[in-house]
């Protein structure tokens, strides 16, 4: 039946092998795209008419910010799946997504602060966009810390899944914060509806970097998942076969 592929998602050996094959191509592709996008953004795009060259930080700041928000949905959806269907791979994905998301959010805040200095005259303001991003960072770190705090790991997973799901309320707040409140942060330059306020010569390298960081995020998630699978299922026959079969 067409739905049998769905059952494979519950099979640890299948996920381990499939993600290994996928990573063989996706990781080099992600690295090439990130390097190409960075070089394009740094050296082959015109400067902004108002911000000069400081705007080049956009090619890092926007992709990591977009992925830090999308990564939260990944974590929350994985948490919901593990809560509802008790799929252990979903539980692992939720745990793996937390530190990666925290790193992406940290990069978004850091590059934003560094961009703020030449543009706004300050590294930091406690406005709606930045404060809600700090909350996002703490949500990611919270899920990570909460799991470590419990001895009973089944209970820890449940608590983390609930925290992830409750935290999703923050994502639309972050996204709409620049429209709802007066903010130093500029509104979105790329819009799904209506015209984007960014020139094609800047838009295409930005789009490339967004795709590149999404690919990279997928790779990081899969690498973390493979590591967690081997760690937690070290006593099973398939892991033994996998390890001894490789040599």
């Amino acid at each position: 039946m067409a739905w049998t592929w769905f059952h494979r998602l519950g099979s640890s050996p299948w996920i381990y092998r499939f993600s290994g094959q996928l990573l063989r191509y996706l990781l080099p592709l992600a690295i090439v795209l990130v390097v190409a996008g960075s070089v394009w953004g740094l050296a082959f795009t015109p400067p902004d008419f108002r911000q000069g060259n400081s705007y080049r930080i956009i090619y890092i700041h926007v992709p990591v910010s977009v992925v830090s928000l999308a990564g939260y949905y990944v974590m929350a959806i994985a948490g919901a799946i593990s809560l509802i269907w008790r799929l252990k791979v979903a539980d692992m994905a939720m745990r793996v997504a937390a530190p990666i998301g925290a790193a992406m959010t940290f990069l978004a805040l850091l590059t934003g602060a560094v961009w703020g200095k030449p543009t706004w005259g300050t590294y930091w303001v406690w406005d709606a966009r930045i404060t809600s991003m700090v909350v996002l960072l703490f949500l990611y770190l919270g899920v990570f810390a909460l799991y470590e705090a419990y001895d009973n790991k089944a209970l820890a997973s449940k608590a983390c899944a609930i925290l992830s799901l409750v935290g999703t309320v923050n994502i639309p707040i972050i996204y709409k914060s620049v429209d709802w409140w007066y903010s130093l942060h500029q509104p979105a330059s790329i819009k799904f509806t209506g015209g984007s306020t960014i020139d094609p010569s800047m838009f295409y390298p930005l789009l490339l970097m967004i795709v590149a960081v999404y690919c990279l995020y997928t790779c990081l998630l899969l690498m973390g998942l493979r590591l967690t699978l081997l760690e937690t299922e070290a006593k099973t026959a398939w892991v033994k076969k996998e390890i001894l079969g490789e040599s």
Partner: protein
């Protein structure tokens, strides 16, 4: 290239330190994020292999 020289690219009309720091931080963080799981996976595989081989050895001795 948009810039006339390498030194122009480096200084970016005064914005160089901000831009290069951002790109530097990005590459350091993603470098760590990529290398750490690969390194941990490699060392875990080595440890597991030793454990399995030691287990097989004791089992064969018992037989």
């Amino acid at each position: 290239m948009y810039f006339d020289s390498w030194s122009d690219l480096w200084s970016m009309a005064g914005h160089g330190p901000f831009v290069w720091f951002s790109y530097g931080a990005f590459f350091v963080v993603i470098g760590l994020l990529v290398i750490a799981p690969l390194w941990r996976l490699g060392s875990l595989k080595r440890r597991l292999k030793q454990r399995y081989l030691a287990l097989e050895k004791t089992q064969s001795l018992q037989e």
